[in-house]
């Protein structure tokens, strides 16, 4: 029996897990909610909600501060969550797990603490055309600050990075490669192993924006061999306002702090300050403790469900969704890469995505419409935006069927 089969047998069938999400048990406009917007933010299971409430109700105090019981409990809960995250992505050490406010802050941290001291005129940062704004703008900022240049590897019609062009752009002047693991607008799974191998051949470090990777794929940062990996709790069934920067310890060691304040210091005098050890050097100020506790509970939840089960379930459902959508007359799919996860963007005839979104919402079907914080992707296809259906572990074929019915209804309204 294969490892995957063993896991399947050990875990509760995913179908039943839908019951764990209180928000999904409601009607919108008289119809049961069909939530197809997990790529924007996933719903939260009761176990996470309860864990956070329990922390706030019984264990809350500031962390790393007091000798009293509650401070000790809070610190244990906060640091316990870090350990869970470390195990979840298989980092070598807990020092490599920096807790942030989200993917966005994690990427800005790397731009400002790693790149800014390093970059000079003539240096380059290489990204791809399918990035989220939060994996574009931080690099633009640091390039402006240092005189470095941002270069962009193009994509093809299917929404895949042109690896030939990528390789051509990857030269000795590149100081960092930053790429999405999974595109939030198109669902493309980037060939990250190939990207990392080619970059490392030139000793160039790689940052992966894993905001859409972690919820859908089993992540092993050692096996990936990436240098930085950024992700957000709220895309993986945890609360908002929390995220993670995984970084190689040697890199973190070499980087100056991102922000100054409490908790990130060992000793402060007016003649100078000694910074705290890793990862605390990068965690200034009182952190989002209950949020981090929630992230830890979300990790527990995902591990109990089994990431390989989730990936298999979602892959099957995505195939079904793509096939069902492609069957609709007048629909155009955006993002048809051979290797995809979770997401399908589409347009219906000449119906503006915002109008389509309203009509779907009226039937209880929640999709995201617009540019998905990836305006360059929309510019590539020369469209104002798309409607995007994205899948989570709780979705099923009935959800997809409701989506299709709702789109048919939109066609009637606009007939």
């Amino acid at each position: 029996m294969t490892q995957a089969r063993l896991e399947t047998d050990r875990h509760a069938p995913l179908a039943a897990l839908r019951e764990d999400f209180p928000a999904l048990q409601q009607d919108i406009g008289g119809n049961g909610l069909v939530y197809l917007d997990s790529a924007a933010s996933a719903q939260v299971p009761l176990s996470v909600i309860e864990k956070m409430a329990q922390y706030q109700s019984h264990d809350h105090a500031n962390v790393h501060r007091g000798v009293h019981t509650l401070s000790h409990r809070a610190t244990e809960a906060y640091e316990g969550a870090r350990d869970k995250v470390q195990a979840f992505v298989n980092a070598r050490s807990r020092a490599e797990i920096v807790l942030t406010s989200g993917t966005t802050e994690a990427i800005n941290l790397v731009a400002q603490s790693y790149c800014r001291p390093l970059l000079q005129t003539g240096d380059r940062i290489l990204i791809t055309h399918l990035e989220h704004h939060s994996n574009i703008v931080p690099w633009q900022l640091v390039c402006e600050q240092t005189g470095a240049e941002l270069v962009v590897a193009p994509i093809d019609e299917a929404g895949q990075v042109d690896m030939q062009e990528f390789t051509r752009l990857l030269d000795d002047n590149v100081r960092l490669v930053a790429a999405a693991h999974v595109s939030n607008a198109l669902g493309t799974i980037n060939p990250v192993r190939d990207i990392i191998a080619r970059s490392h051949a030139l000793d160039i470090p790689v940052l992966l924006d894993g905001a859409q990777g972690v919820p859908h794929l089993a992540i092993d940062v050692q096996e990936l061999d990436c240098d930085f990996y950024a992700f957000s709790s709220h895309k993986m069934y945890g609360p908002t306002g929390v995220g993670v920067l995984y970084a190689r310890e040697s890199l973190l060691d070499s980087m100056p702090p991102y922000q100054g304040g409490g908790d990130m210091i060992l000793e402060v005098t007016f003649s100078g300050t000694t910074y705290n050890e890793l990862p605390y050097k990068f965690e200034a100020g009182t952190p989002n403790i209950s949020g981090v506790v929630g992230l830890g509970a979300a990790v527990d939840y995902l591990q109990a469900a089994g990431m390989s089960n989730i990936a298999a379930h979602e892959a099957e459902l995505l195939d079904y969704m793509m096939a069902q959508l492609a069957n609709i007359d007048g629909i155009r799919l955006y993002g048809t890469a051979s290797n995809k996860a979770s997401v399908q963007s589409f347009m219906l005839e000449d119906v503006h995505p915002h109008d389509l979104g309203t009509i779907l919402d009226h039937q209880g079907v929640a999709v995201r419409t617009g540019h998905h914080c990836a305006m360059p992707v929309m510019q590539y296809y020369d469209i104002p935006g798309t409607a995007r259906a994205s899948l989570g572990l709780y979705n099923n074929t009935a959800d997809v069927d409701r989506l299709v019915t709702a789109i048919e209804k939109a066609k009637q309204v606009f007939a």
Binding site: D355, H362, K409, V413
Partner: protein, 158 residues
């Protein structure tokens, strides 16, 4: 069909009335106005609607109005209706119209019957049941307000 879906259907039909669909598909006075005296841009960052309104004001009167840009059916239809409505109106009256329409659609003012010239704007009333779409309907009217007040910055709905 259950009751909920029948009602849902009615509300949608009320939002996307024939007149709205017609104006969104065949916007009137669409394009640039080369001899414009007043212009303003309206941007709705939420959905990417981006319209530019051009006016030619002669002796305090709106002599011509055009618009260009792209947006959802509601924002385009609203802009198209606007250009039909304001031509021939004194600037002061056009400003009153902008205030009335915005008040009417946002629910800030009670929806009494509008001025006769504004009659067609009732076609947008369905938007009041769709809070996320009100800004689409008011966008062009915000731009009208900016243009006539000669504000050079873009009007946004945020």
């Amino acid at each position: 069909m259950n009751l909920a879906s029948i009602q849902a259907g009615d509300e949608l039909r009320d939002l996307y009335r024939e007149l709205i669909l017609d104006h969104s598909r065949h916007p009137r006075n669409f394009g640039k106005l080369d001899d414009a005296t007043h212009t303003a841009e309206g941007i709705n960052p939420l959905c990417g609607d981006k319209l530019r309104l051009y006016l030619r004001v002669d002796e305090q009167q709106v002599a011509d109005a055009r618009f260009e840009g792209s947006g959802c059916a509601i924002s385009v239809a609203s802009a198209s209706l606007l250009t039909e409505i304001v031509v021939g109106q004194p600037g002061e009256v056009a400003l009153d119209f902008a205030r009335d329409v915005i008040g009417r659609l946002t629910g800030a003012t009670s929806p009494r019957p509008p001025a006769a010239e504004l009659g067609k704007i009732q076609a947008l009333d369905g938007v009041r049941e769709f809070p996320t779409r009100v800004k689409c309907a008011t966008l062009a009217w915000q731009a009208l307000n900016s243009a006539l007040n000669r504000q050079t910055t873009a009007a946004t709905t945020e």
